[in-house]
Symmetry: C2
Subunit: 418 residues, 2 copies
């Protein structure tokens, strides 16, 4: 009961703050964010001190080295964090844009104008720089944000939010514009997800279990992606040198990310030429291969890929490979096992490319490029608040445009309906 009341109060304060943010002028938002960047650097020692506390608990919690590395803040990382905020400051203001404007026969003038969403709840894990990324993007788009970071980064997140709130206060803007959920009680998330009248959107970023839990319990809209089972299909008409380069990059450039390839599909006519050198490249990179029967023929000694493999996002140095009869079998495989994130074809045949682009219903569909490019920065959005494999509201990498709604503004001269 006490928790419910505390969180409702917090969200009410966010809603009030969001009304102030909605009316901020572009210039003021830019100045404010530049000042945040400046103060993040100036407050580096306090932030690092708070981070130390988290690092000490991390050792007691027996986090892996990789996790501790992601958690760690030093002056260089804080410098980067501040730089990212300045970059957001420079972006075009997404609010107040007239998307369309038209006049009706009765003289009514109708405008479709972008407005902020209102209050956004972001639930995420570990990396404390996500705190600053999300706060800066929400402020830029005139939204209040409720941040629920991982418990392992609690003190770091507090210190970062404090920097934002201090600047907000100096600008006479409610500090509830950027709030960290003040409790680590796990029930807090369930309580927040009931506040559909106060929170306009939830973005869960993290493991699949967390995201599924949020999607199931949230009464407000959720933007999410469960996972990325990305494919590259090497067509019969592929430039095989290009294919080797793309397939290697898609798998190995960075394995722990959602736009890395998990399954490679190879046309049967090029399997004999493509697979042996590709297998060698992966072995040299320390990447395990699992394949169907035909792949096993060309890459002796590899493990057999099971039905389970086709459905798995390894996020690791493992790749499953399947040899397919034709592009239709490749498309069917993607439809059956894919996650509608990013899929790429390598081919020199424009007709085949068109078929792939038209039939593969993923948020990003690529021709002759590595899946690793599906990313807000790589697309030129300047920033990314998340990625969506849903089809409603935002799809694919989601920049500032994903954080806005619109309203219809209608100007009349006394029109009534007859």
């Amino acid at each position: 009961m006490k928790l419910t009341k505390q969180l409702t109060q917090l969200a009410e304060d966010s809603q009030k703050a969001s009304r102030v943010l909605a009316e901020l002028l572009s210039k003021k938002k830019r100045k404010l964010l530049n000042e945040v960047a400046h103060h993040l650097k100036r407050s580096a020692s306090q932030v690092i001190k708070a981070n130390q506390k988290d690092l000490e608990s991390a050792k007691q919690m027996k986090l892996t080295d990789a996790m501790i590395d992601r958690l760690k803040l030093d002056s260089k990382r804080i410098e980067q964090m501040a730089k990212a905020v300045s970059e957001v400051a420079k972006l075009d203001d997404p609010i107040g844009k007239v998307l369309k404007s038209w006049r009706r026969p009765n003289g009514l003038r109708i405008q479709k104008v972008t407005v902020p969403l209102g209050v956004i709840l972001i639930i995420y894990e570990s990396r404390p720089n996500v705190t600053s990324e999300c706060a800066s993007l929400c402020l830029k788009s005139g939204n209040a944000v409720l941040l629920r970071g991982g418990k392992e980064a609690f003190h770091s997140n507090q210190a970062i939010v404090r920097v934002y709130q201090n600047v907000l206060r100096r600008y006479g803007i409610p500090k509830a514009s950027v709030s960290l959920i003040p409790t680590l009680d796990r029930r807090a998330i369930d309580e927040l997800l009931k506040l559909e009248h106060l929170i306009n959107l939830v973005i869960p970023r993290g493991g699949e279990a967390l995201i599924r839990r949020v999607a199931r319990h949230a009464r407000m809209p959720v933007i999410k992606h469960y996972h990325g089972i990305c494919h590259v299909y090497i067509d019969r008409d592929a430039d095989l040198k290009m294919a080797l380069k793309i397939a290697f990059n898609a798998k190995c450039q960075r394995v722990g990310v959602c736009n890395a390839m998990e399954t490679l599909l190879v046309h049967k006519d090029v399997a004999s030429k493509f697979l042996p050198p590709y297998g060698q490249m992966l072995r040299d990179a320390g990447c395990e291969i699992r394949g169907d029967q035909t792949t096993q023929k060309w890459l002796p000694g590899i493990k057999k890929a099971t039905e389970e493999d086709w459905r798995t996002e390894y996020l690791d140095k493992i790749l499953s490979i399947r040899v397919v009869r034709d592009i239709d079998e490749a498309i069917r495989h993607i439809q059956t096992y894919g996650s509608a994130h990013t899929d790429s074809i390598v081919t020199r045949n424009p007709k085949t490319a068109r078929k792939f682009v038209s039939k593969v219903d993923s948020s990003s569909v690529m021709v002759n490029a590595s899946t690793r490019f599906s990313d807000g920065n790589e697309y030129g959005f300047g920033a990314e608040i998340g990625i969506s494999t849903d089809k409603v509201h935002a799809r694919g990498p989601m920049g500032l445009e994903g954080l806005v709604s619109y309203k219809y503004v209608v100007h009349g001269t006394g029109q009534i309906r007859t």
Copy 2:
């Protein structure tokens, strides 16, 4: 268990059909819809016969006369239904539009292209013409549709869907493109709302209880509006003749619809001049008035408006009136009690109008026009699949544009990420 299996099979068939629909050419969709219109007229007698069955049960179910009237189909209404389908046929194809196209410094060409959502579930009540409206809009936008109409219109809906399916079959398109949920079992809705991997969007249209139930249980996105508590604010600087006309139209032109006014706000400086003639107009129209103390002073004999009145969507010949100190109090009232549907100001002062437009966060905000205009047809969308007071995906009256998503199509020449 049997129900789950049956509905999952149905939704799987819809998903398969949606893949065929996604690739249909504009010309074919137009031809197909024109043929549906033609066959609706040709099959009028069968549809009317099915409707008779529903009308007979309606009498046994003791439906009100108004409900029976909404249910009833005759040849004129079927003619209108067919005409509406031809109108949808004529609209621009919303699919395959390149919303944006740009090139990155590394040479990648990125296009943001509209695609259908996939499978849409629409849950609605009584009027059988909604069946045809929704089916035609979904086909036009390349989406498969699952229709769950009210039990009182079951036979009529079956007959209408049969006309669609017959035409689809003749065009070699899966009939699962347009499906009626074949059971009236109430648990069917709960089962369908779990199928997030098969259904991309749910649109509940009907009473608030139904919509709340759908929003709570759906695991996929929901587009909805609970109710419309629309306001008109008569400013100090209003043209009072215009104000009388607009406030009368907003309340009385049609009372049972979501964009009708429920509460009128009047600036204290014009209350004495505005309220007496307005009260007379409403009394002449048989409309009950409830007011705050000041309103009671100017309209003696009316009931006192309670807190409950400010929160009520009457959908009836009842209006609540409040006299406010200034525009800020009017805006606060709307923020507190409104439903973010449609709110209008009557004023000759452009500065006041700007303030209202900026601070009132409703899906439609109007200046000097009746709230009754917030409607897909009045906005020139050619059709309306529903209305949304949410801020995510679609807001306000929702035409074909609300039924599409997009994907990123990326063309490269062998780019990899470094």
